[in-house]
Amino acid sequence: MSDNTRPIDRSQMQVSDEVAIDIRNMNKWYGSFHVLRDIDLTVHQGERIVIAGPSGSGKSTLIRCINRLEEHQSGHIVVDGIELTNDIKNIDKVRSEVGMVFQHFNLFPHLTVMENCTLAPIWVRKVPRRQAEETAMRFLEKVKIPEQAHKYPGQLSGGQQQRVAIARSLCMQPRIMLFDEPTSALDPEMIKEVLDTMIELAEEGMTMLCVTHEMGFAQAVANRVIFMDQGQIVEQNEPKEFFNNPKSERTKLFLSQILGH
């Protein structure tokens, strides 16, 4: 857990009434194992949600359902007004509106940082190369590594790679960003640089869903914390209440375990 000494600018962090993600009665099974049970979740444009919970509780699976990396078997998921079904066109449309950052970065090792960032804009959005490179440079500056643009991912540190991964997602100009444990694979010294980038994004009003164990981050930027266990949403609340006054026994136990020392 890292402390965030940086003051947070909450002026931009307005939540609108517009619904970004609407999940209703969603269920998912892996074979006969019921991973996600009756999930109901509405996310508004501009909301920043942190999803916490013990491992195996289905938090990653939940956010991977939102861009259809995982398929749900019943219920509805509507992202930006588009319902996720087997229709490949809809899936591709949703995926180009939703950015995702992975635990293990998943950068393309055979491409330079710049090529990683411009690939999807050029091939999916049909942006001219020159323009895509300008955009990529802008986002690389934003994540503070413009000087690494022509290196390969293998030459960068973990923290730098994760910031490239964030820039790569941003280059598609997504309306929603999903973070799947973005700091779990990083050395402690590198966690802060990635969190700072995420905080900056939050300040600009990006809709964010983060699966993370960084409770400092949750307290600083989230306007809702969701606690999951055994494939269900057990508790959700605004961060202050969630941390200071947890309602369910399961949440109390979890918090005592991760904040206990």
Partner: protein, 484 residues
């Protein structure tokens, strides 16, 4: 802190240590010998044993090599010279057979006055390969193209090529060298046209044949453009079906008509005149160029989620891999005649190329599948999450990495296939190793010569295969992206 540290004096480092040189130990040849050859009693014994074996082999063959004869008209003349020079009973190699019959080993029974045609085709192959093999390394590309140009033009002059074609080759080489400086990718146009051009140079005949073949894809493209606004599926089907219909139904007739109006042809050479390395290289290069794309498609099909596609790929791969290549070649030479409508003249070399390609593609598919399986799942997920569709993800993310991983296996398959081209001897074609050597021995002057032709042919095969192997190592180094 545990008790063991209780007595540690508090310590703060005030100066950081600079990096130091590693200790200089004894170096040089003596050290190398001791470490690598005589490090212990077992190693010493093995070293001495190894030296003895090498000595035994070399001493056995040395006088045979040392007594090489390059100038003689027949084997008996060779033996006579050896006996006169080194005394009765001396052994010696008679390389004169290579000097005398090299043209048969290289060109088979190709008409000697047309030797320049396959030579030019082979030289231009390097222009066609340049954008594929040496796209990024400008220096290497210049050297390869320059050497190919000099060698080809010199050989064409030596082989009395007509001035017109000499000028053509010179213009192509010069154009390639100049164009590749500014736009290396433009050479791909030549690479795409090369197969038809190469076939025309080798087999000759009317130029309208290859031109009419080329019309097929053009018609397909027009059909695609016309149909695309209405339905993309219909456009794809039309783009695939119309060229095939054109080739089967009209291309031949159109070529004959065009030839009767404007004649544009060079002397035709039939497939039974092909032989030696000309035949091996023709089959080998075609097989390599065709089996890689087919192998990729098969590998992707085998990993597909679609049951039918996957099953067909599995059946094809397992069937082809389970059958000896010779069996497939027999099918090509004998059985196909029963299935094809009577009177169709389906060229034997073309049939062999198809079978060799299918055979190599089945192995290739498994090699590439290994590369695909080695990619972390995260790469597929990242491509999906960015909204890339299946084909774009395969082309831009998955295949570049999977093929890179598979380079050693792919090149092994190429090398194996190239050597397997000697098996065409079983369907009556003149491969350089067996049939051509038999043909040489059929003359009274070279009756009974075995070692020299086999060593010569083996050496040429080794050079080509070793070249491929070195190229693959160069490619692996160039594509290395992990700086660990």
């Amino acid at each position: 802190m545990s008790d063991t540290h209780a007595q540690t004096v508090p310590f703060v480092r005030d100066t950081m240590l600079p990096p130091a040189e590693p200790p200089i130990r004894e170096a040089g040849a003596v050290r190398w010998l001791r470490e690598n050859l005589f490090s212990g009693p077992v190693n010493t014994v093995l070293t001495i044993l190894g030296i003895l074996i090498v000595w035994f082999l070399v001493s056995h063959f040395w006088d045979w090599f040392a007594h090489s004869i390059w100038n003689a008209g027949s084997l008996s003349e060779c033996r006579q010279i050896i006996a006169e020079t080194w005394g009765e009973g001396a052994r010696g190699a008679c390389w004169a057979v290579i000097r005398e019959r090299w043209n048969q080993y290289v060109y088979g029974f190709y008409p000697p006055e047309l030797y320049w045609r396959p030579t030019m085709a082979f030289g231009l192959l390097f222009v066609a390969l340049a954008p594929v093999l040496f796209s990024e390394a400008a220096q290497i590309r210049r050297i390869v193209l320059g050497l190919a140009a000099l060698m080809t033009l010199w050989l064409m002059v030596m082989l009395d090529a007509p001035a017109l074609w000499l000028a053509f080759a010179a213009v192509v080489f010069l154009g390639a060298l100049l164009v590749s400086e500014r736009h290396p990718a433009w050479l791909l146009v030549f690479s795409i046209l090369y197969p038809l051009m190469g076939v025309w140079f080798l087999w000759g005949g009317s130029a309208w044949g290859p031109i009419m073949v080329l019309v097929g894809p053009v018609l397909g493209w027009i059909a695609w453009r016309v149909m695309h606004p209405f339905s993309s599926l219909a456009a794809i089907v039309a783009a695939l079906v119309i060229p095939v219909l054109w080739w089967i139904g009209y291309a031949g007739e159109a070529a004959r008509d065009a030839e009767s109006i404007v004649s544009f042809s060079i002397p035709a050479v039939t497939s039974d005149r092909f032989g030696g390395f000309l035949l091996s290289v023709t089959i080998g290069v075609s097989g390599i160029a065709l089996s890689l794309p087919l192998g990729i498609v098969l590998a992707l099909a085998r990993r597909s989620d679609m049951f039918l596609v996957k099953s067909l790929a599995v059946i094809f791969i397992e069937f082809i891999r389970g059958v000896p290549l010779i069996a497939l070649l027999f099918v090509a030479s004998l059985l196909l005649n029963y299935f094809l409508p009577p009177g169709t003249n389906f060229d034997i070399i073309l049939r062999v190329i198809i079978m060799v390609t299918l055979f190599a593609a089945a192995y290739m598919a498994e090699v590439i599948r290994g590369g695909l399986a080695a990619l972390p799942k995260g790469q597929y997920e990242a491509a999906d999450a960015l909204g890339l569709d299946y084909w774009k993800a395969q082309r831009l993310i998955v295949l570049p990495q999977a093929l890179k991983i598979s380079i050693p296996g792919i090149v092994s398959t190429f090398i194996g296939m190239f050597k397997d081209t000697t098996l065409v001897t079983f369907v009556g074609l003149y491969d350089p190793l067996k049939s051509m050597s038999d043909a040489v021995r059929a003359s009274t002057s070279w009756k009974g010569i075995y070692w020299e032709p086999y060593i010569f042919v083996g050496f040429i095969f080794f050079l080509i295969c070793f070249g491929m192997s070195r190229y693959s190592m160069y490619l692996e180094r160039r594509l290395a992206r992990d700086h660990r």
